[in-house]
Symmetry: C2
Subunit: 391 residues, 2 copies
């Protein structure tokens, strides 16, 4: 076994999930993530934890949802002529599936190892079916998020292909991002967190010749930033991570997102959002505008921001069409419409609520600045505590 | 997808497990059983069941157990010089793992789909470690057996190799065994069950020139035979099945088992057992005698019979070194040392108890007879209700 796989497993188990003797750990292994699953199982045996392994196969999920579609449309056929009745809705699923609830209520930690064989494996499942399933599964999702959960990926050929990279090249990319000195990065990110925690107002400006301008401001008063250092000890649930994020509100202005992304298997490029009074009042995209519109129409909260994030992982040096990596890349900022994370909110206060959380990313490596309370804290990707920073 | 995979899934879900709308079904998918897992997931969606998918990987199990071995031997090193302390025992495992218990307590049905990449994937795990793990997991195993559980396999290259067959040849073998008219076979097996249920004494005799004789008798008075028709509706939990079995006692005589088998990754051939007063008092094997001795020494019950089974699935026409198939083959009988199944015992009575249950098989296609209460019911493989039967 490649030694980097064992190192990845050790970071996941020890740094990220902080597994201790006697913990009940649920590991979900994607179709082609077997090798990392093996390394994680060995590490958990060494730590004295219990392990339960789920099979996280997108192809199985697709098959199950196709089966549900067949059942519902079959029932429709027998009863009336209205085709609309054949659409799957949340009531066609059990909203309290006993086994899945039991798993996450009993688990101390949940390690999700992505890495399937086809990133578009569920492309032919009707969108309403997927949305209905997601809605019905909200209780399970909440139980899962009450565990010490961490999401990572094993580098697979399918993910390499999505990134437009050769397989070995992609492996190096993943391990550069994952196998970092997390303690040192956490210390650096603490500076950014301090700035955001003591600030009230953030403004982001980019002025580039080849793209629409961004000039957007938002309030962060009273909100707490998360130093997302890839560990549950930092309220951080992604490996790799390497971002500082908070939950903004009262957003106003225009933002241009130049980093391409995939929403619901649809390629979305060059998104422009216009905010007034905290809400998206206008939007456009050069590609995938319909998918974007569907997201924004999900519910009221889908038109408000749930997150402002600042990418600080310089082990990530390129975009790979995967939010797990893209949003953490150094010299980027991202905004997400939809759900805010509780960790950013004052105790007992609920932030923006939504069934969705969709991140969109801007490259800020050039012709850009971020201000907190009118003071520039990052210019052209360089933070104010770094060498070469120009006020 | 090969249509036979879908048919296999339909038999498993409908005939074997009797899944109904709203059932909570746990499916365990082995490393190379993905395709059947997909077909089962689709069938469960169609039936309106919930599905939770476990990854049943022998390589992950091995890695976990190797991790435990490393931990225990590491602890041993620090404390004293006695090497024996480094052996894993049941106390090194959690006997009440919360997640696994919760899964099987909440599940209505459990479908185990075997089919790994290497049938000897756990060969280098110390036997005491495996035994300790099995012992610690007894509670989980019991919870699992309280569900409507069914065990089957997807034909894989690894299983084809174990059977000494080409891959396509092995696929045909598996589907011939699995895709049967189970209702018709159940009706035929009901005749055998009736004979055993009303009988008190079974005697099996083989007299062949090329092998030691078998002449063994056992009591079955008061015991109930299981018509194992590959369905939980028949107290039958294997697909394929096709055997009638009961729980004998007071065994006396000698038995020769000419069908090779694998015990704990050890090849065992030509076993001879001598019984007196219900217990094995002498034994021999041409290969694997140590593995056989270990089994017989497990506990008191390991020297007594737990099962007499009569193979009646004529879709199985050869031995493939897999107990799932071998013991169901037409023209065979098998005896198991160890645990008896509750279904064969009078209500409230406990039969032979043991941590093991190891089946051994005899070919009875020639020079053999089985008598129940001194009446011949099978001669040279032909049952008394069949054409060509000679009294």
């Amino acid at each position: 076994m490649d030694e980097r796989v064992r190192e990845h497993a050790a970071v996941l188990v020890d740094w990220s999930a902080r597994v201790e003797t006697g913990d009940d750990v649920v590991v979900s292994v994607a179709e082609d993530a077997h090798e990392l699953g093996v390394a994680v199982a060995e590490a958990l045996g060494e730590r004295g934890a219990n392990v339960t392994t789920l099979y996280g196969s997108d192809e199985l999920s697709r098959a199950y949802l196709k089966g549900v579609e067949a059942r519902v449309s079959g029932e429709g056929d027998g009863c009336d002529e209205n085709d609309d009745d054949a659409a799957v809705d949340a009531a066609d699923f059990d909203s309290d599936p006993a086994v899945d609830r039991a798993i996450f209520e009993a688990a101390d930690a949940y390690l999700r190892i992505g890495g399937g064989r086809n990133t578009t494996a569920t492309a032919d499942v009707d969108r309403p079916t997927r949305q209905a399933y997601a809605k019905a599964r909200q209780g399970v999702r909440e139980a899962r998020m009450d565990t010490d959960w961490v999401s990572t990926v094993h580098p697979t050929r399918s993910l390499a292909q999505q990134a437009g990279m050769a397989y070995e090249e992609y492996q190096e990319f993943v391990y550069d991002a994952v196998l970092r000195d997390w303690e040192a990065l956490a210390d650096e990110m603490a500076r950014m967190k301090e700035i955001l925690d003591s600030g009230d107002e953030v403004r982001i400006v980019t002025e580039r010749d080849d793209a629409p301008d961004t000039d957007v401001q938002m309030s962060i008063a009273g909100r707490t930033a998360v130093n997302s250092a890839a560990s549950v000890a930092y309220d951080s649930h992604n490996l790799p991570s390497g971002e500082v994020f908070t939950a903004p509100y009262d957003t106003a202005g225009e933002v241009f997102f130049d980093v391409p992304m995939t929403i619901d298997a649809t390629r979305v490029r060059n998104v422009r959002l216009v905010f007034e009074g905290g809400e998206v009042v206008d939007f456009a995209a050069e590609a995938g505008e319909d998918a974007l519109a569907d997201i924004l129409d999900t519910d009221d909260g889908a038109r408000r921001l749930g997150e402002l994030g600042i990418g600080m992982n310089r082990g990530i040096d390129r975009f790979t069409d995967s939010i797990l990596f893209d949003e953490k890349m150094g010299d980027t900022v991202h905004l997400a419409v939809g759900r805010a994370y509780d960790a950013c909110l004052p105790e007992g206060e609920s932030g923006n609520d939504s069934a969705v959380h969709v991140d969109m990313i801007s490259d800020v490596s050039a012709d850009s600045r971020m201000e907190v309370d009118d003071e520039v804290v990052q210019r052209d990707g360089t933070f104010r505590w770094e060498e070469g920073f120009e006020q």
